[in-house]
Symmetry: C2
Subunit: 377 residues, 2 copies
């Protein structure tokens, strides 16, 4: 098999963003397919009580892995920098680590976070709201490496390739994403080899990954082995056929890029094992959570105990970093009864989380208001 | 709310091990409920390519958490030892760590591993085969602590209580499990505070958990705060109403205890993103995996490329420890076509993994042969 080879037709239908009920928006969406369960068991979410940590413990950070976690060793790892550059180079891990180090707390979120809350929904990784995490990433800035390589004037994008390989949309491929030269040259973009003070764990891209703060996670290519300057915009599967804000299977839509404003709460009280409904003691509670908006700051967080009919301002904690979340807290006097707790955030440019989800075909960028069912006793 | 308080009737039906299709064994079981997705997104499996590691990286080890991950600090943690003992004691974490340390590699598995492969299945955490992991656990043996406390002659069990609280089966409870005195006094049972050379991560029981090698994971109570010697066998929810080999909702069944023999393979080739079907190059492959049998050793592992019609012996690697898995490998000459790869193990007492699953109502202890669909091209 060669990279990019198109498989026989019986396999091409394996991933076309099928929809529950074939796109009938009135279909029941509370049933999930075995394919979705398989993905949910591999791709890990951060249980929302993990919002209590400024920096997510490594083993609690969300993960989305398209293919397999590759078997990699830093001893023989190499990063190739080529394509339309005047000085192609190959760096080993010692050379990467010998470069100027940088550490940055970054809140990362999967573009598909909230997909399983859409009706109907795309058949893919069925995230509710747990595809988030904040880590302290350590690496070296990408821009100086690109400057040393000398990106040619006719190059329009940089293509990033991981060693993880598999079939998606009927096409055998390595995981690949591109950025424009301008996007890739930003100060915060780094080649990361450390997470929370330790080497990357295998599932987070060991030994080397791209990290693009402010963007949804698909851009931060794991197990990075090649960077190529290219003359035409990359039109591969992960760029043009998925990670799109599309309205139908045929709609190319707009590219998914920066993380949208969102706030999430630590569900108060204690859970029911199966339904995850919360049981809460009557009386005074401080409800806490986190809010983020990619590159932007969060200007406001509001809390509601009545399903979003009335809102009160939450108190904002400090921003953990330029690309990381803020904590927030809201005082709540819980009276007996059934409650629907909500939280919503507004970014510094005035965009507010929607109460009703603007649907899209692939289930991308769903930043609808977080709602938690609670029974107060 | 008080511990053990029975909730109002509207909540009591939330967890009764409902079955897909209400127990109709001909019901379609390829659809999953939202409750199952919610649990799958919280409770993390080890992707099977993680079988390549002798010791599972911490962030890849499986997790099953009934309620929430509690907010704990070792600074004010205390372990109370009481009930029918002559010298009740309370230990803080410094006192626990000052005791004789021990480290042990242990393969842990969730009792519900394989539940979602049963037809019909119980509505609970819908594991396929990924609820496994091997860690190097560090702690101190439990037996000397019990000897110092002086367990009374009329005590029959020790009850272990975690601080994690929630509702299950309509009952508000702390997570609790018991062991007989004899089971608890075994040399390998420990109070663990370290995992893979670091303090426990919050989701693995920080700062202190019970570790009972050879048993399914439900016995290794996380966030352990109390040990009580009791005069009657514990009849709480986690002991008598779940973790049972039962045939119906009314059948109390037999208790789930020691891990059954099992072998699992690293799926060869590369995956299709959605179906996880494997695409494999024709030619010679070495298929690898792990096999374990709780306290027992694995005597034999066999591999099949034809769905279990014919078997060949795999080569066994060394046992990683008395309670940990063995590696195995099998040579496979892959010829083009659709293949169903299988692996099965036999323990040192002659028990072999079943080809057809003996069904049970709660979906416990499913150690059926591992099968992987592969297309060889």
């Amino acid at each position: 098999m060669r990279r990019g080879e198109v498989l026989m037709s019986s396999q091409r239908a394996t991933y076309e963003f099928r929809q529950v009920g074939d796109g009938d928006k009135t279909a029941k969406t509370d049933l999930f397919y075995r394919e979705e369960i398989q993905l949910a068991l591999r791709n890990r979410g951060m249980p929302l009580e993990g919002l209590r940590y400024d920096v997510t413990p490594t083993g609690m950070h969300y993960l989305l892995i398209h293919f397999d976690i590759p078997h990699a060793s830093e001893d023989d790892w190499s990063l190739e920098i080529g394509g339309l550059v005047s000085r192609p180079a190959t760096l080993d891990m010692d050379e990467v680590r010998a470069r100027a180090p940088v550490s940055l707390p970054v809140t990362m979120e999967c573009a598909g976070n909230g997909r399983a809350l859409m009706e109907p929904r795309a058949i893919s990784q069925p995230w509710l709201l747990e595809a988030i995490g904040t880590a302290e990433w350590t690496g070296t800035p990408l821009a100086p490496i690109l400057e040393e390589a000398g990106v040619a004037g006719d190059a329009v994008e940089l293509l990033f390739t991981g060693v993880d390989q598999g079939v998606q949309g009927g096409e055998l491929q390595y995981y690949q994403r591109s950025l424009t030269i301008e996007q890739a040259m930003r100060d915060e973009v780094m080649l990361a080899y450390g997470m929370n003070g330790a080497p990357l764990q295998p599932q987070h891209g060991y030994p080397l990954r791209l990290l693009v703060p402010g963007w949804y996670g698909m851009t931060s290519v794991k197990w990075l082995t090649k960077i190529e300057a290219i003359a035409e915009p990359f039109d591969g599967f992960q760029q043009m056929r998925t990670y799109r804000y599309a309205q139908s299977a045929d709609d190319v839509g707009d590219p998914v890029d920066l993380i949208r404003v969102r706030s999430v709460m630590i569900p108060p009280g204690v859970p029911d094992f199966l339904t995850r409904t919360r049981l809460v003691r009557r009386g005074a509670h401080t409800v806490r959570g986190r809010a983020w908006a990619g590159r932007l700051d969060v200007a406001r967080v509001e809390f509601s105990e009545d399903g979003g009919h009335t809102w009160t301002d939450a108190e904002l904690g400090p921003r953990l970093g330029e690309f990381a979340w803020r904590s927030w807290s809201a005082e709540w006097d819980a009276m007996p009864g059934e409650r629907v707790l909500c939280v919503r955030a507004t970014d510094e440019e005035g965009r507010i989380q929607p109460t009703e989800q603007p649907w899209n075909y692939q289930g991308m960028g769903n930043n609808m208001v977080h709602k938690v069912d609670a029974r107060v006793e």
